[in-house]
Subunit: 421 residues, 2 copies
């Protein structure tokens, strides 16, 4: 437990540097770090971490090593384009508990930019929100990690345990970035991941599987189409079969701890579709990409088996096949009662003046990597946002300030602090 004076020095330091923090966040947002195009943003992260005197590590993901891991998600991009950045702080004398401050640098596509009210990459601040693709998910969080650390030193203190800052790729598609960091040997007594979580702590979340369904057959000229096969038509009942499986899994929510009261916890999203080659030819093929969710405790392989069975029994006369195209992850639960959670709750209450609330989220989180495969309590906790993955994504500025203060207090309490020499 920090004494109030120390805590005050730290939170004041967050306030003092907050304009610079926003500037840095905006600079990060201005790098369109879409999948496999994260390099310039990672360069910036590397430079910032290095300038703080951290020991730097940057490496390309190792496809062979990843492919042997049960939590690996099949990749559809080249691994050489995917690099993680880690900066490590090592104290003079290690007395406290070590920590990973994790965040992902990759962002999802903008969708049609003309549906945005502004450029997705201008990071404009307006009416208390910062806009832009990745502003909430999760460049504000990456910056919060960094400036929380800064605040401790700006307050004349030094953390008393090892801290690894991780800026990882692939969180939006496979989870292979955090998995690669774990495989590289990075471990700690706790991990903080400031995803946009409405100033709350994630208690449990779903696993996610990505797959692509191909529906095909042999049609002929459009003038004979009424007797023929049309793959676009045939795709919709296949989607319908998957929706039935989704409904079945949702109906089972009562038997899954922390999911009993979540509204529609299992979402099967048909996120992309393509099909056909020519307007006047009856389409012979149609493919669609699905993101399916599964409850914690269910192996991805078992869920995948059910999905495959569903696709074998659609009753369609078409050829229906599926391949995995990304996430192949299980969900996780942050077990109640950990020291890490207690320290976070204390920090949060000190900043917000209200108790830390936890909740269950139906979206993928890298927390599963640390929890399931590292035995590390994962504190996924971060600012208020709106429209992540949508248009005019934005993050709430004052929430970012308070989350940064909470993380700073957490670092100080968890790692311990010494007065600077």
């Amino acid at each position: 437990m920090l004494n109030p004076g120390t805590a005050r020095r730290i939170t004041d330091a967050v306030d003092t540097a907050f304009d610079r923090q926003l500037e840095f966040t905006a600079e990060l947002v201005r790098h369109p770090s879409l999948r496999a195009a994260e390099s310039s943003a990672q360069d910036l992260m590397f430079t910032e971490l290095e300038s703080r005197g951290l020991a730097m590590d940057r490496w390309a993901l190792d496809g062979d090593a990843l492919a042997g891991h049960v939590g690996y998600g099949p990749s559809t991009v080249a691994f050489e384009d995917l690099t993680n950045v880690v900066g490590t702080y090592t104290p003079q004398e290690s007395k406290g508990r070590s920590l990973i401050l994790n965040g992902h640098i990759d962002v999802v596509p903008t969708g049609p930019e003309d549906t945005w009210e502004r450029s997705p990459w201008d990071a404009e601040i307006k009416d208390g929100w910062m806009y832009g693709r990745g502003s909430g998910d999760m460049k504000a969080g990456l910056a919060a990690n960094l400036f929380a650390f800064d605040a401790i030193r700006a307050a004349g203190l030094e953390p008393a345990a090892t801290i690894h800052f991780q800026s990882v790729v692939e969180e939006e598609c496979t989870g292979n970035g955090s998995l690669a960091a774990l495989q590289r040997g990075y471990t700690a007594d706790a991990v903080v991941i400031p995803e946009p979580e409405e100033n709350m702590l994630v208690r449990a979340n779903v696993g996610v599987i990505w797959f692509r369904v191909r529906v095909s057959g042999k049609p002929t000229h459009v003038r004979e189409m009424s007797s023929g096969f049309n793959a676009i038509d045939a795709a919709y009942p296949v989607m319908g079969a998957l929706r039935e499986l989704e409904a079945k899994w949702n109906a089972d929510q009562g038997s899954h701890r922390y999911f009993e009261d979540v509204h529609h916890p299992i979402n099967f999203n048909i996120g992309m579709i393509s099909g056909g080659d020519w307007p006047s030819s009856v389409p012979s093929w149609c493919e669609f990409d699905v993101r399916a969710a599964l409850y914690p405790g269910i192996a991805a392989a078992d869920a995948w088996g059910e999905i495959e069975e569903c696709l074998r029994n659609t009753g369609s006369e078409a050829n229906v096949s599926a391949e995995r195209t990304g996430f192949f992850s299980e969900g996780y639960v942050l077990e109640e009662g950990s020291d890490a959670e207690a320290v976070l709750a204390s920090a949060h209450e000190g900043v917000f003046g209200s108790a830390l609330r936890s909740f269950t989220t139906p979206g993928y989180l890298d927390g599963r990597v640390f929890t399931l495969y590292g035995g590390i309590p994962a504190l996924t906790y971060g600012p208020v946002s709106e429209a992540i993955h949508g248009f005019d994504e934005r993050v709430h500025i004052e929430s970012v300030r308070n989350v940064t203060k909470t993380i700073a207090l957490f670092i100080a309490d968890w790692c311990g602090v010494d007065e600077s020499a």
Copy 2:
């Protein structure tokens, strides 16, 4: 009416050159003359026509001139890549009726090549059929035009009227190729178009409109998808609304001459679809390409008005918009009783030993250009084929032989012949 001896000399000449005709047809098929990639095939046509001493003309389509024509189909490719080839035969003395021998060089995409039993471009002959994309639709016809003409001269005769050989582009998407030939001033007393029509004459056919429908809205993160908008889902009822319009138009077939007994004459084909940007984002947009048919006598603008009204009243909460992307054509009827038809019927009966049958086809044909805008009777008549626009497209060899003979006899009878000097 040709005397039997002359006719026999001509049909024998077709037989004599038939192996070379098949070789040339195969060579044409081996040029994958997909849209805007017809150059090498047009080079071949140009060389072949020129080697026969014809006066050559090759020109790029003129977008501005075309755009002013009511039969113009909006183009989505650059006009400079689209060239027509015409070779003109002029007799020493013009005594007979002039003729256009028309065919299109463009072919539709193959679809997934692994669904073919062989390469779509190898033009293999097997069990009496020549296989390949474009074999039936309509390179066999283009070659038949040319070798029918050859046969007359090989028989020691010279046609006694002007003949324009046209190898046009854009028949599979806009019809702008034949329209451009008409605009360039090519006209005649009749036109023969050997499309794959089962050894029959097309009496009537539909008009076609191509358009792309865009369904869009503002969704958000997949974790909130149950409350949100999904454009791929939303596209399906919009297709359903179009299907209702299709059913309405089909129900009206009884009031359209020559369509009373056609099975399902009006086809709305959803030929292509695309949508969404990311599997884990709820899709904000979905586009699909439609090929719609309309009866002869209905202005394309009127049909389009009905389609637009249909799309305004789908009841969808989505934004639904549509743009025209190709064909904007009316259908046509070949009125009974023309001299041209009588001459063709006579030639056909002389070769096949059975009466020429006519029928109504629910697919687009360039015949509408000559009929509607040139006042030229269009004889769309050609060989037996299977799976045009599908997989393993093929054309029946003996049918090609007989159609070539019929066209040769038609030329001789229509244009008249003189003994060669």
